[in-house]
């Protein structure tokens, strides 16, 4: 090309150079300490793209490069934190898409900011159509737990801790769809499955919603800014549980307002100091390293799953184990103020084998009581999970009608909102089999928002049976319409089939996949388990497939 006559005024040259330098400042972030950066972002940073992909897959190279650069750009963490703070404090808004806020009431509504399915709310407020099935399943599960414990000479007690969506149902943020808010109000005001099961087992299980309701407007009771019930609410839950589990009177504590960090930091994106009503016996029990190590080694658990306490002035001289999710850590100090020895085990993220091992250890005679603490969202799943693991721990077959091992998939909408970055359900959930009972339909219900444009759902499906025959049949319906191709594939082979289902626009906002099958052999017939109930279709390894 002929040399062009493009000239700059000296000042314009300096100005453009200055612009170039100023815009390049975020690149200084490439020289940051990566470990520190990863710690601040609380995740692994994206790796630099492979140079070889620049030629073979340029779009992938640049997409990975974009992610790599975005992770390291100077001020990116500060910008994110400050923008969120500005939204929270400056504008009075929720700082994240998956958190709803109205005034002081802050609550998570979804696990994934990119997929707002309100599962964190609906988990506490299930639709009424599922209540009967849930109650039945809960009743069966809790009865199994009691039966196993009785056989092992233990006593078991449980508390279902009311959650914010139910406790403050009438004050939920308006950003939550009105039908979900109405569902929560209905749950709070009527005989929900939690109320019914607590009424069915008044000696072993409690759901202190009425007690919570009476005090919910006490300053910092829950507190409103926290995800977990903490402070006074946790104390009331512990009190309610100990009222069942111990003959010794629970000492009514005094409460003092103290400041602490709200546990919503991962969702909010920044730490927030709030007030809690702390009971005066918070330090009544000492942490017991000896007991902690004993349980770690005996049950082969990780140290961060256990908190052990020793109380020299306990009202009740017994040794108890609290089996819980993350909420257990809030209630454990209250329980430890009453019992001589308390071990709290957080079962979040535990796989089935670990749970079985843990129950084997707990039922070997060294504990007097097992106390189950279940936070309201998802408590029905936990009852089933615990019952199943306890049965397995003592190699006992479940009752014919128990809802433990063979999960009733039709029991409620199975929410697949928790796909991880690779499109799979998180560890622990993906391996969980979902079986339908032979002769009964099973449903998977997936919100449209989960699919996104161009995505589909892939799953491994198998119809059980020793041979292909006319008596052995399966049918799959997508939003009420039979998918003949899938049905044919499933009927013509004994092997598991990988099925890919794309979103059908006629399904509306949710896509329901219905599995129907003939009555099949039991797990015991097939030599898989000791379970003698008839199996139907097994669905597992569900993943979202991105077409992008």
């Amino acid at each position: 090309m002929k040399i062009e006559r493009v000239r700059f005024e000296p000042l314009s040259l300096a100005a453009i150079l200055a612009l170039g330098v100023l815009f390049a400042i975020p690149l200084l972030g490439l020289f940051q300490d990566e470990e520190d950066l990863a710690r601040r972002q609380n995740r692994a940073l994206n790796e630099a793209p492979e140079w070889s992909t620049l030629v073979s897959e340029p779009s992938r190279f640049f997409a990975e490069g974009r992610a790599w650069l975005s992770d390291r750009a100077l001020f990116s963490v500060d910008a994110s934190v400050n923008y969120r703070k500005f939204k929270y404090y400056g504008l009075g808004d929720s700082p994240a898409a998956n958190v709803a806020r109205e005034g002081d009431l802050v609550l998570p509504i979804a696990t994934d900011a990119a997929n707002i399915d309100y599962v964190s709310v609906t988990g506490s407020c299930p639709a009424e159509q599922y209540w009967d099935q849930m109650t039945q399943s809960l009743t069966n599960g809790w009865a199994e737990i009691n039966r196993v414990a009785e056989l092992e000479g233990l006593s078991t007690f449980g508390v279902i801790v009311p959650s914010k969506p139910v406790l403050y149902a009438d004050r939920l943020p308006r950003s939550i769809p009105s039908e979900i808010r109405a569902q929560c109000v209905y749950t709070a005001e009527n005989e929900s499955p939690a109320v019914r099961i607590a009424d069915s087992f008044p000696d072993t299980l409690t759901y202190p919603l009425a007690d919570f309701m009476a005090e919910r407007d006490v300053d910092h009771f829950y507190p409103l800014e926290n995800f977990h019930a903490d402070g006074m609410a946790a104390s009331r839950a512990a009190q309610s549980l100990i009222y069942l589990s111990s003959l010794e009177p629970f000492r009514e504590p005094e409460f003092t307002i103290r400041e602490g960090n709200a546990d919503m930091e991962p969702a909010l994106g920044f730490a927030r100091r709030v007030n809690f009503q702390r009971p005066d016996y918070a330090s009544a029990a000492d942490r017991s390293n000896i007991l902690d190590r004993e349980v770690q080694q005996g049950a082969r658990l990780r140290g961060n799953q256990i908190s052990a306490f020793f109380n020299a002035n306990a009202a009740d001289p017994r040794r108890v184990a609290i089996i819980a999710n993350s909420f257990g850590a809030r209630i454990a100090p209250d329980v430890a103020s009453h019992y001589a020895e308390t071990v709290q085990i957080n079962t979040n993220g535990m796989n089935r084998q670990t749970l079985i091992r843990m129950f084997r250890y707990l039922m070997d005679g060294s504990f007097d009581q097992i106390l189950f603490v279940m936070h309201e969202p998802g408590y029905y799943n936990r009852v089933r999970l615990f019952a199943d693991a306890m049965l397995e721990a003592i190699s006992l077959e479940p009752d014919e009608n128990a809802g433990a091992r063979v999960a009733d998939v039709s029991f409620g909408p199975v929410s697949f909102s928790e796909f991880d970055a690779r499109g799979w359900l998180p560890p622990g959930q993906n391996t969980e089999l979902r079986w339908s009972k032979g002769g009964r339909p099973a449903f998977i219900d997936i919100p449209r928002s989960l699919f996104g444009e161009g995505n589909s759902i892939q799953m491994r499906v198998r119809l059980f049976g020793p041979e292909v025959s006319d008596e052995r049949w399966a049918r799959i319906l997508v939003c009420g319409q039979e998918d003949a191709d899938i049905t044919d594939r499933l009927n013509s082979s004994l092997e598991p089939q990988i099925l890919e289902i794309e979103y059908d626009a006629e399904c509306g906002s949710r896509m329901t996949i219905e599995f129907q099958s003939s009555e099949q052999p039991s797990g015991a017939d097939l030599g898989l388990t000791q379970d003698r109930r008839q199996l139907g279709i097994r669905v597992d390894e569900i993943q979202r497939v991105s077409r992008r």
């Binding site: 493009v6 690149l27 939204k87 929720s94």
Partner: protein, 470 residues
């Protein structure tokens, strides 16, 4: 790669600027090389499509200039190749399946749409026609023509720049401090329009249009349309302002693309204020060659109908875009038929309201996934039942503030008010003398807008420009 992304703002742009000033003898080559890289980052090997477009227009351009024998057929061949490429990549699936109902096959389904193809194809065609008409000189340097067609500031979302607009600047240009000042201000204002206004509105519009229409209350359907009306304006206007700003910093003066269209008092005026580079393109290369308004009323109406049909088709291969184009065309025709005289007698507020309602209804079809969705969303505006998602599911304080800002900033009020304080970016007499402090305030404003926008971008809240798909 979009202008409001981390990789463009903080890597591509500074590296390019430094190369641009560091290689005095190779500034157009630098511009071309970075433009090709810009496209390659976004589209990978579909860069070849753009290179083919450049080659077609360069070779055709050599044979269409006045005085060259056989230039008529050469123009026809050049234009046919341009149109054929556009039709294949953009419309083949729609034509085969929706129009001709042919069975699906690999050649008609899953055809990737190279971003910006409508823009660079129209630039190439305008080059050939201008050279043919003698309005521009044929470009002998393939690199210079490539720099014109591929120039990254306006490559993928306009404005559509005529070759004659930049031909002289490609050969010789002097970049003065005021170019940089105005360019910076344009860029900063455009970035803020996109990141602060359009993206905030997009969150609401996308969420509402992502729901089934029968799940929405009437007021929510209206909120979706309202926020989308602001989103598309600030998104596209913002991109154009950034393109113009970058062009100025590089020494080019791109044409104005928007002039506060939402204060228009008729649909005819709306199209004199909305996407000016496209409407003038259709006027100069289609409407006038078809006879314009010189052949009597019936042919004028026919020509207007065709132009707006083409305008709709240009925006996308889908019936809803065609309906959108014809919707506007219908009102242009009835205004020409005499309704404009009725409008003139109305109070100015009613005239603006009329225009906004027509434009608003058009945007419903423009935003919808397809024609059925558009009709359902429109019908939902009149469904006054209690059920469905309320507006409060989609609004928070930030959105309300940005919505209020959008109302104000879609009018020239702030521009007029700010003239007393800062030296504003200008299109016409843009070298007009201003006191130095006004430039200082202008730089301060640009810095604030860029910093605030950057915070939002770094916080991970940006979204791509929606005009890419056209």
């Amino acid at each position: 790669m979009v202008f409001s992304s981390v990789e463009f703002l903080f890597l591509f742009l500074p590296v390019f600027l430094i190369f641009y000033i560091a290689l005095p003898a190779l500034r157009n080559i630098t511009l071309l090389a970075f433009s090709l890289l810009f496209y390659f980052v976004g589209e990978g090997y579909f860069l070849a499509v753009m290179l083919a477009s450049i080659a077609i227009n360069y070779v055709s351009g050599l044979f269409v200039a006045p005085g060259v024998k056989g230039r008529g057929p050469a123009l026809a061949i050049g234009l046919t190749l341009n149109v054929a490429m556009l039709v294949y990549y953009k419309y083949i699936g729609f034509l085969a399946q929706d129009v001709f109902q042919l069975p699906a096959n690999d050649w008609t389904t899953d055809v990737h749409l190279p971003i910006g193809i409508s823009f660079f194809t129209f630039q190439g065609m305008s080059y050939l026609i201008d050279v043919y008409r003698g309005n521009a000189r044929k470009e002998m340097s393939p690199f210079r023509l490539a720099a014109y067609i591929a120039m990254f500031p306006q490559l993928i979302a306009g404005p559509i720049v005529r070759f004659s607009t930049v031909a002289n600047d490609l050969r010789r240009r002097v970049i003065r401090l005021k170019h940089v000042y105005y360019g910076l201000l344009f860029f900063a204002v455009g970035l803020a329009e996109k990141v602060i206004l359009a993206d905030t509105m997009a969150k609401v519009a996308d969420a509402i249009y992502g729901r089934a229409p029968d799940e929405l209350q009437a007021s929510t359907a209206f909120l979706g349309g309202l926020t989308y009306s602001f989103q598309i304006f600030f998104d596209f206007s913002g991109y154009s302002a950034m393109a113009i700003g970058l062009g100025l910093i590089l020494g080019f003066k791109f044409p104005r693309n928007f002039n506060f269209p939402y204060i228009s008092q008729s649909i005819t005026e709306f199209w004199r204020r909305w996407h000016l580079s496209l409407s003038t393109w259709f006027r100069d290369y289609c409407y006038i060659p078809l006879g314009g308004n010189r052949l009597g009323p019936s042919k004028t109406y026919r020509n207007l109908f065709l132009i707006f049909l083409l305008t709709g088709v240009w925006h996308g291969a889908s019936w809803n875009f065609i309906v959108w184009g014809l919707w506007h065309g219908f009102f242009i025709i009835i205004e020409r038929f005499g309704f404009s005289k009725v409008l003139e007698k109305m109070w100015i507020g009613l005239r603006v309201a009329y225009t906004l309602i027509i434009a608003y209804i058009g945007w419903i079809f423009f935003r919808a996934e397809d024609l059925t969705h558009g009709l359902q969303m429109l019908a939902r505006h009149f469904a006054f039942s209690e059920g469905g998602a309320s507006v409060w599911e989609f609004l928070d304080n930030e959105t309300l503030i940005v919505l209020a800002m959008s109302f104000v900033l879609s009018t020239p009020v702030v521009l007029w008010a700010s003239r007393g304080f800062i030296a504003p970016p200008a299109y016409g007499a843009w070298m007009k003398r201003n006191p130095m402090w006004k430039y200082g305030l202008g730089v301060a404003l640009a810095a604030i807008l860029i910093i605030v926008s950057s915070v939002k971008i770094l916080a991970g809240t940006y979204s791509p420009f929606i005009y890419f798909r056209f």
